[in-house]
Symmetry: C2
Subunit: 236 residues, 2 copies
Amino acid sequence: MRYELYYWSGIQGRGEFVRLALEDAGADYVDVAREEGDDAIVRYLDGAHEGALPFAPPFLKAGRLVIAQTANILQYLGPPLSLLPQGTSVRRYAHQLQLTIADLVAEVHDAHHPIASGLYYEDQREEARRRAGDLRTQRLPKFLHYFEQVLERGGGRHALRRHSCVDLSLFQLMSGLNYAFPRMMQRLHAGLPLLHALHANVTQRPRIAAYLASTRRVPFNESGIFRHYPELDDPA
Amino acid sequence: MRYELYYWSGIQGRGEFVRLALEDAGADYVDVAREEGDDAIVRYLDGAHEGALPFAPPFLKAGRLVIAQTANILQYLGPPLSLLPQGTSVRRYAHQLQLTIADLVAEVHDAHHPIASGLYYEDQREEARRRAGDLRTQRLPKFLHYFEQVLERGGGRHALRRHSCVDLSLFQLMSGLNYAFPRMMQRLHAGLPLLHALHANVTQRPRIAAYLASTRRVPFNESGIFRHYPELDDPA
């Protein structure tokens, strides 16, 4: 099966959670918008194709199937890519974790865009400063300590007692937060040993290491979800 | 199977999407926090129980299984409650729609809480006015016209060509928006005939009608997700 991933070509964004799963599994896939331009996405969103209508990217085409929503795509890809354990209960739990990661990602996005995703950051900078303060002091510590506890319950090394797409998503989360909020992550470091160890372990997986060193990994930038605006990080 | 739903007792919130499915199916369930108080929820969140750890309510207990995240719960309940069609592809599409509804619900919440969910509305009223303006003019029309298109593709009456939990969730969405933004919904009314017809049809389903007339349906209020603050609606 050759998968077709549709996601904006210039950023990691939500597409990166899918890309990491495909890369880690060594799956055969094409990153459509990087080959054909972002218009290929827009044609789908405009309803030019039959079948399941996506509201937004990322979406995945697998044969005739079109699947949208990041966590939904990973739920679909998990079994064929051997990135989910056997068993419906553990898969429901895996999906719950993916959805909680998605919630956090939305909150991280809104920290630099608290008023309108259609406006520039510069047009909502004051509001962003207030919201990012709450994110750094309330929401992120709560989420990250939750995931630390999830790793504890998973035996320490993995969310689900073995490698899975959840670990890859937690890796991406930590990578993005390290980029966007280095001072905050330094402050929280001592309380998150398992998340930091997981991040290091995933970095060393051969296919992930090769991917991270390749040009396929778009660097973090200030058009994506994880943006480094020093004024939104902890005070120096 | 007697299901146990855990959700804050004083609001409809995200729990209502699960409650509507249970009510429509005539399922045997207990609304735990309404019987035992909200502390029953907090004990779970504090990790006092084994097994899958929820980050936030709603979560559902079904025998020994604990499932969190609204859309995940509905994915689980759909088949036994006969609220999802047969077939893995259509169920993936159903789930994609539930996740898109969940995204919209989060945006509606953030319209009155754009800075911090832990602060009062009154402490972020100016920011809320700005964000609600964007919601009413950009985001909500985009989402609602998307769902209108989904109904068109479903044959007009249903999201999935037959009654499902997706229809119940779209009903709840329309109910909440009618409550929170009556002037905006009036403005958009003519462009959303299928969503309005679906709302009317679901209201008349016998078990839903009985539920809506019962004391189990907590009225919308200004502690929930859908809040009526006239200053956040279209200008009079």
